[in-house]
């Protein structure tokens, strides 16, 4: 039987003007009708370029070849580039990653109507469509609210709903959950699954955090450097990873981003061809069935040293509005040269705490005591950038506003150059800060605050939007800073990152720190608020919180 496709790519190549290499290189594949397809690859591999070739008005300028074909329900074949505008708008919906920029109107209901307004739909029809979609996607509580009052996750749902109101057959999403917290991301993915299952809309989605999307995917299209490696259901990807590793001597770039269960499987399983687990549940049952059983508790002892305090908060209370307490008599101790990760849900007060520690907000009650300088890295590096290139951006730190001492020109140049080489940013010293990639922009912002010579670094969600490779670069950089004697406090949703690189962890809930401990005991003693690996291996393998722990436990254990 012939496959029922809705979209076919045939030998598609594309090169941006002035580029030396193809951004897309000879891609051929077809997307099945009603499929949930995930496009996977590290950042810069051409995911976005590929997705933008699926909708007419998104196709970038440049040299392209090959054909992209949309196949209607009646079997008519239409080239994407030759689609009527009206058809393209109503058949193919597109959602991007920027939750702020995509919203046009001031009210939620007005935003939902935006696409319909453009098509000249009468008001009563719009009312009906927007009501239907709000009901279906479960956003009716915010229907009459202002867009500025709702959370980022809700805003992304509104963008999705606005596209869905036009009832597209294909929904293309370019890293839609990249900027969302894990909880909001999960809600968004559940809504997508509902759309896919209940409306049979075809979904094509790209994402870096593959662990959050693998469980939803029918198939995964794996890309590397503009080429398609393969297109397979997630559970059958094992073979692909294995062959790639044999041929290239290293893992596929997306390895670091796939679910912990999959990674443990790939590192240790004997037969990798079939049955790669993509969720904790599957991972656990695979481990139960095939894995080793090591009941001996070889508890890894965490060294106990005498430690000096670098930062202390005593009974901090803070509120933005009357009677709404964001911090409630919070106590916190941060030791010298440690790396503390503060985790917790949205609205738990993490960022407020960080700003109080940084001295940006003044607590109503309580005290913050810091030994030495404190510096604060905002979540969005853009909020720091003013200059036309990277080196001037760094030098800007020394512009005096009458609060600090001013330095000599040569001294400034020396320090800026030193910082550029420390952060491996020498190649892009003349680039505009806005043209830097996500990882580079963040390093530049970090460089800026490092030039204020702090002992204590406060980082607000530094791993947000970074792919696995960039997270690793960041971790190495933070490790170096720690070795230089700096103390690091990070607010994050990224448990995996914390488990791997932090030394201490704290769990914040409703304006207070509920647990604070060294990371190993933190993750092992938490039941729900812990890493996937810890949940997956609990009671089967001893004391594992990271993939490496599990892999070494299995390989070094009773596993033959």
């Amino acid at each position: 039987m012939k496959e029922d496709s809705i979209l076919e790519f045939h030998q598609v190549s594309f090169r941006y003007p002035g580029a030396e290499k193809d951004a897309l290189c000879d891609l051929s594949f077809s997307v099945r009708r009603s499929e949930f397809l995930v496009v996977a690859g590290e950042s810069g591999c051409g995911k976005s370029t590929l997705l933008s070739h699926m909708k007419k008005n998104h196709i970038p300028f440049g040299k392209g070849s090959g054909s992209m074909t949309y196949i209607s329900g009646w079997g008519d074949r239409i080239e994407i580039e030759e689609m009527e505008d009206l058809e393209s708008v109503s058949k193919i919906g597109f959602v991007g990653q920027d939750t702020d920029g995509q919203v046009v109107s001031d009210k939620v209901w007005h935003e939902l109507s935006f696409g319909l307004e453009n098509l000249g739909t009468p008001n009563d029809v719009m009312r009906r469509r927007t009501a239907e979609i709000a009901e279906f996607l479960g956003i009716k509580e915010i229907y009459e609210k202002n867009v500025s009052e709702i959370s980022g996750g809700e805003r992304q749902l509104v963008v999705l709903a606005s596209v869905m109101a036009m009832n597209p057959e294909i929904l293309i999403l370019d890293e839609p959950i990249n900027q969302l917290s894990p909880r909001a991301a999960r809600e968004f993915m559940n809504v997508l699954r509902q759309i896919n299952r209940e409306l049979s809309t075809t979904i094509i989605l790209s994402e870096q955090r593959l662990s959050s999307v693998f469980p939803y995917a029918d198939r995964v299209l794996v890309m590397e450097a503009g080429r398609m490696i393969d297109i397979l259901p997630p559970s059958q990807l094992g073979g692909l990873f294995e062959t790639y590793k044999k041929e290239h001597g290293k893992n596929l770039a997306i390895f670091g981003a796939i679910p912990a269960a999959s990674r443990i499987f790939l590192e240790t399983a004997k037969n990798k061809e079939e049955g790669m687990p993509v969720s904790v549940r599957e991972g656990r049952s695979w481990l139960q069935k095939e894995g080793p059983r090591i009941f001996a508790q070889q508890k890894k002892q965490e060294e106990v040293k005498k430690e000096r305090l670098a930062l202390e908060a005593r009974e901090l209370s803070f509120s933005y509005e009357k009677d709404v307490k964001v911090l409630k008599k919070l106590n916190l101790k941060v030791y010298e040269k440690s790396f503390l990760a503060i985790m917790g849900g949205n609205g738990s007060g993490k960022t407020t705490l960080l700003k109080c520690l940084a001295g940006i907000l003044k607590p109503k009650v309580g005290k913050v005591k810091a030994v030495g300088n404190v510096a604060y890295l905002p979540q969005n590096p853009r909020s720091l950038f003013t200059e036309i290139n990277a080196e001037e951006e760094l030098a800007e730190v020394f512009v005096s506003y009458g609060t600090g001492e001013s330095l000599k020109q040569e001294e400034i140049i020396k320090r800026v150059n030193q910082m550029l080489s420390d952060l491996e940013l020498e190649d892009c010293r003349k680039q505009h800060p806005y043209d830097l990639s996500g990882g580079q922009a963040q390093r530049l912002a970090l460089g800026k605050i490092l030039l204020t010579d702090p002992n204590i670094l406060l980082l607000d969600e530094p791993t947000k939007g970074l792919d696995a490779a960039r997270k690793k670069t960041l971790a190495e950089l933070l490790g170096r800073l720690q070795a230089q004697g700096k103390t690091i406090v990070m607010v994050s949703h990224d448990m995996e990152f914390a488990a791997e690189y932090a030394s201490h962890c704290a769990f914040m809930f409703q304006g207070d720190i509920v647990t604070a401990a060294k990371k190993r005991s933190f993750f092992l003693e938490n039941l729900f608020f812990t890493t996937e690996t810890a949940i997956m291996t609990k009671g089967i393998l001893p004391d594992c919180i990271t993939v490496e722990d599990a892999v070494s436990a299995i390989l070094g254990g009773a596993y033959e």
């Binding site: 008005n57 998104h58 505008d85 009206l86 708008v89 109503s90 919906g93 597109f94 991007g96 920027d98 702020d100 920029g101 995509q102 919203v103 046009v104 109107s105 001031d106 209901w109 007005h110 935006f114 696409g115 319909l116 307004e117 453009n118 000249g120 739909t121 009468p122 008001n123 719009m126 009312r127 009459e144 867009v147 500025s148 963008v159 606005s162 596209v163 036009m166 700003k355 940084a358 001295g359 940006i360 510096a375 604060y376 890295l377 905002p378 969005n380 853009r382 909020s383 720091l384 950038f385 003013t386 730190v397 506003y401 009458g402 609060t403 600090g404 806005y434 605050i449 204020t452 406060l458």
Partner: protein, 291 residues
């Protein structure tokens, strides 16, 4: 029972339109006085002291210029009160200017009152039908403002994190920093607008003539209210626009009410101006009883 501002935007709009026409159709002490005093009554009812404060700020310069300054330079009229530089300051001129000032203040007061009935949402609806693009631009502007403020705060926090707290700065340094923060926000927002453009285009912006969505429903009560306004407003409008309220100021003042026509029109006009107040008072009374 609903308040007057809860009626359909078209009803509110027609009301304000008629009220303004009636206030401006003639420079007549009776219509001007009626319009101003009833606008003040309703405005005071809606906004209390705030309203009178706002009106006083506007009224003082208007009254000073019209009662004290203009009569010094304009000398129409026959009843000279006194002479300055051999030129007469006349009673007619002062009276005429006083009435004009009342009329202007009445119009301003009605605009003030109108802002309670027609919020941005209703404004968008009313003008979105005639000028959908303007409505869209307004809606986008309303979206941009809070976003701008949010980003400005974020940038301010980032600068504080670099140790630049405006509190510790001189006025000069503080304003330099403010300019810097503003420039960050502007370039950030410009960059961001690229995404907005793409998002608009993907959803078919510019393909067809736009319609404008709204959540308003024209109900029976709106029809009834429209009818009441029409009945009360029609006759004064006919009289006013037909020049029935014209009076003579120069060279001598003739402002007597002539005949039943004018009197009836004035009475209807008074009721017309009182409609929103009556509606609101009844609504409030019912609410109080219900609770």
């Amino acid at each position: 029972m609903q308040k007057f501002k809860d009626y359909h935007p078209v009803v509110n709009f027609i009301y304000i339109l008629i009220a303004l026409i009636l206030s401006m159709c003639a420079i007549n002490p009776y219509t001007a006085g009626l319009s101003l005093s009833l606008a003040l009554v309703y405005g005071g009812y809606l906004y209390r002291g705030k309203f009178f404060k706002g009106m006083a700020v506007l009224a003082i310069p208007i009254l000073v210029s019209s009662l004290l300054i203009i009569p010094l330079f304009s000398h129409n009229g026959v009843t000279a009160l006194f002479y300055i530089n051999d030129l007469p300051v006349t009673l007619e001129m002062i009276f005429f200017d006083g009435v004009t000032a009342c009329m202007v203040l009445g119009v301003i007061a009605w605009f003030y009152v109108a802002s309670s009935m027609i919020d941005t949402e209703k404004f968008l609806y009313l003008f979105g039908r005639i000028l959908p693009t303007v409505a869209l631009v307004l809606s986008m502007a309303l979206r941009m403002l809070p976003l701008f403020v949010k980003r400005y705060k974020e940038v301010g926090d980032a600068q504080k994190g670099l140790g630049r707290d405006p509190k510790d700065m001189s006025l000069w340094a503080r304003s330099r920093l403010a300019v810097k923060k503003l420039s960050i926000v502007v370039s950030w927002s410009l960059e961001n607008s690229m995404n907005t453009t793409i998002s608009m285009e993907s959803r078919g912006y510019g393909l067809k003539k736009r319609t404008s969505a709204h959540l308003f429903k024209f109900g029976r009560s709106d029809g009834r209210m429209g009818l009441i306004l029409a009945v009360l407003g029609a006759y004064p409008l006919v009289v006013g626009l037909g020049g029935g309220f014209q009076v003579q100021y120069f060279p001598e003042i003739h402002v007597k009410l002539e005949g039943e026509r004018q009197l009836l029109a004035l009475i209807l006009m008074g009721f017309f101006f009182l409609v929103p107040m009556i509606v609101d008072v009844i609504a409030e009374e019912k609410e109080r009883r219900a609770s």
